[in-house]
């Protein structure tokens, strides 16, 4: 108790110093400014993204009206871009929980400007991912058959199906990432409630839950955050494992592999980290938050990415190596088509983007302190991870055991429109969120200042 008292007094003293006080006020103003300054380019971006989303909505409507045949799918390839996109977006959603959750648990100070950006990504990408489940359904108007509720038909969904595990996991993950985003937002809502006028004010008044900044509230918030952070990291691991199970528990050569679930988790974190770096770069660049998202953050993100790249490369190598040595004919046809066959260009590009380039680039300390470079590596990794999802799904399905049924696949314009629309939808949600929530958790940033670990560049 005594130690606590001293800590309290010391912190209080530090906050009292003039520069800290000024810093706190400056933090408030700087981090709120993106919400108030709206340039013309912002509207242009919103309009363009909205148009793309509308185009995708139109394509989806067309597909519902005429049939799923508007996609390029055909036997034996029953899954294509939609499922690849689903897996991809679930992967991106691991950014938030991994970065923010793991860094919160380890009490890493450099998490502070990153958590909010990552958590928003989690929520929005899991929403986009969930949308793809519906886009993919052959009879989307019968989606309620998948929901376990007592009905007059007296029948239930089949929980033995990995798709039901998916549904449960995605629902849990979406709910908890919304909570996980919202909890640390409450104090920021309280702050904005006092500073915002117009239609946003009553919204924040409700969302802030009447926050008063008392120690009791902080205590409850802290407790809830600590518990939920640990839980959500556990959910995160399970979610992508389950998405991996979708493939691993099947009988398809190329899918049926024990390494797929953990490999999916690593791959998800890989693309999630890459997306967070892209987000950091653009938020910093557009809203001139150089003082908050600093080079040290890029440096540390770069190191983390290097670690994940190594991990991913290791998993990937193990997966292919085991198949290669097994020389089981069914598996080998798939592997051959990827390594030397029709899918070789995509595959080797994927290896370059996903493994070779990041490994070389991120090993160079000066490169890690170059935000643009890191952002480009992030884009490359995301492109590669998307190719990787396609390479998991299409070559495996295209080479079933009876060679008579082999097939190729190329997505149709409907699929591509919806794919582009999904990226636009994600970006649109993100761009709109900039006007609703501060991109950097203000109170966490201020807490960092009080802790006195505010390093000057």
């Amino acid at each position: 108790m005594e130690a606590r008292k001293d800590f309290f007094l010391k912190k209080q003293k530090r906050a009292g110093e003039k520069e800290h006080w000024n810093l706190i006020q400056k933090t408030n103003d700087d981090l709120l400014s993106p919400m108030f300054e709206t340039g013309r380019s912002y509207y242009v971006v919103v309009a363009v993204l909205s148009l793309l989303v509308l185009a995708a909505a139109g394509a989806w409507t067309y597909q519902i009206k005429t049939g799923i045949g508007q996609s390029g799918l055909h036997p034996p390839i029953f899954w294509g871009v939609y499922i690849a996109s689903f897996v991809f977006w679930v992967g991106v959603s691991h950014s938030g929980t991994f970065i923010s959750g793991v860094l919160r648990i380890s009490k890493a100070e450099w998490r502070r400007p990153i958590t909010r950006i990552a958590e928003l990504m989690t929520l929005f990408s899991i929403m986009v991912a969930a949308l793809f489940i519906f886009v993919h359904l052959g009879r989307v108007w019968r989606f309620y058959y998948l929901i376990p509720y007592p009905n007059q038909r007296q029948i239930w969904p089949n929980f033995r199906s990995p798709l039901m595990w998916d549904a449960a996991a995605i629902f849990t993950y979406a709910t908890s990432s919304l909570i996980y985003l919202y909890l640390p937002l409450i104090p920021d809502f309280a702050l904005m409630r006092e500073r915002v006028t117009g239609w946003r004010r009553p919204l924040y008044r409700v969302l802030a839950l009447g926050w008063r900044g008392t120690q009791t509230e902080w205590r409850w918030l802290g407790m809830a955050m600590r518990i939920i952070t640990i839980l959500i990291v556990m959910v995160m691991i399970s979610v992508h494992s389950i998405v991996g199970f979708d493939f691993a528990v099947s009988l398809v050569p190329g899918w049926h592999s024990t390494i797929i679930p953990p490999y999916f988790v690593v791959g998800a974190i890989h693309s999630g980290m890459a997306t967070v770096v892209m987000g950091l770069y653009f938020v910093r660049k557009i809203y001139r938050l150089d003082g908050y998202i600093r080079l040290e953050h890029f440096d540390k993100m770069g190191k983390l990415m290097l670690l994940i790249t190594l991990l991913w490369s290791y998993f990937y190598f193990v997966e292919r190596q085991v198949v290669w040595y097994g020389k089981i004919p069914d598996e080998m046809t798939v592997l051959d088509s990827i390594l030397y066959g029709p899918y070789a260009p995509q595959h080797w590009a994927m290896i370059a983007f996903n493994s070779v380039i990041p490994l070389i680039a991120l090993s160079i300390p000066r490169f890690r302190r170059w935000p643009l470079g890191l952002m480009i590596v992030g884009i490359l990794i995301n492109i590669a991870m998307y190719i990787e999802r396609i390479l998991i799904i299409v070559p495996s399905l295209g080479h079933p055991r009876l060679p008579y049924a082999w097939g190729r696949y190329f997505p149709s314009w409907v699929e591509l429109t919806i794919l582009v629309g999904s990226f636009s939808f994600f970006l649109l949600l993100y761009v709109l969120a900039i006007k609703f929530v501060p991109m950097i958790a203000i109170w966490e940033e201020k807490e960092g200042i009080l802790h006195g670990r505010y390093e000057e560049r």
Binding site: N151, Q152, R153, Q154, I155
Partner: protein, 170 residues
């Protein structure tokens, strides 16, 4: 006032959902008013007062999947010799003279993906009234039961009949 706004909104949503749900569930079974037949045929008169066997008119019931609607000549077997005419029987005669089928409105309908055979159920010892209600006392003939899947399953469970999906859906 503002304090209650949320509660009121929630109550309103629930109320709307309940009302919509009520009408939706009503729509799944036919209402009495939906029985708008071209001729005001009364089962009460034929099956009740005149004691005509169901199978006399619905002659497909025990030998085929469909119970079948009687063709006009089955009606005319009796109505040809009847002296007294009412406006409704006049309509029947008009159809007969014009050599036209009567455009009955089908009420006892199952979806296209349900395979139901009257024959099997009659063979198993069921009576028409078990499913169609006391038709002999009805003037108009709405559905007596919902004819929805849960209703079928409950009866199959009670009677130890097949509970395989491929019994009715193929």
């Amino acid at each position: 006032m503002r304090k209650w706004a949320g509660t009121l909104l929630a109550l309103w949503v629930i109320a709307v959902a309940l009302i919509v749900g009520f009408f939706y569930s009503q729509g799944s079974a036919d209402l009495r008013g939906q029985d708008r037949q071209p001729i005001a045929f009364s089962h009460q008169r034929h099956a009740g007062e005149l004691q005509i066997n169901c199978l006399f008119c619905h002659r497909g019931a025990d030998i085929s999947p469909a119970a079948s609607i009687p063709p006009v000549y089955v009606c005319m077997m009796c109505h040809r010799s009847l002296k007294a005419q009412t406006p409704e029987t006049q309509k029947l005669l008009t159809y007969w003279n014009n050599k036209e089928p009567i455009p009955w409105v089908r009420l006892q309908r199952l979806p296209e993906f349900v395979r139901f055979t009257h024959q099997m159920h009659l063979n198993a010892g069921f009576k028409c009234t078990d499913c169609h209600g006391q038709v002999a006392q009805m003037t108009s003939t709405p559905r007596a039961a919902t004819f929805e899947m849960g209703w079928c399953i409950r009866c199959h469970q009670r009677n130890g009949a097949s509970k395989d999906c491929f019994t009715c859906h193929y």
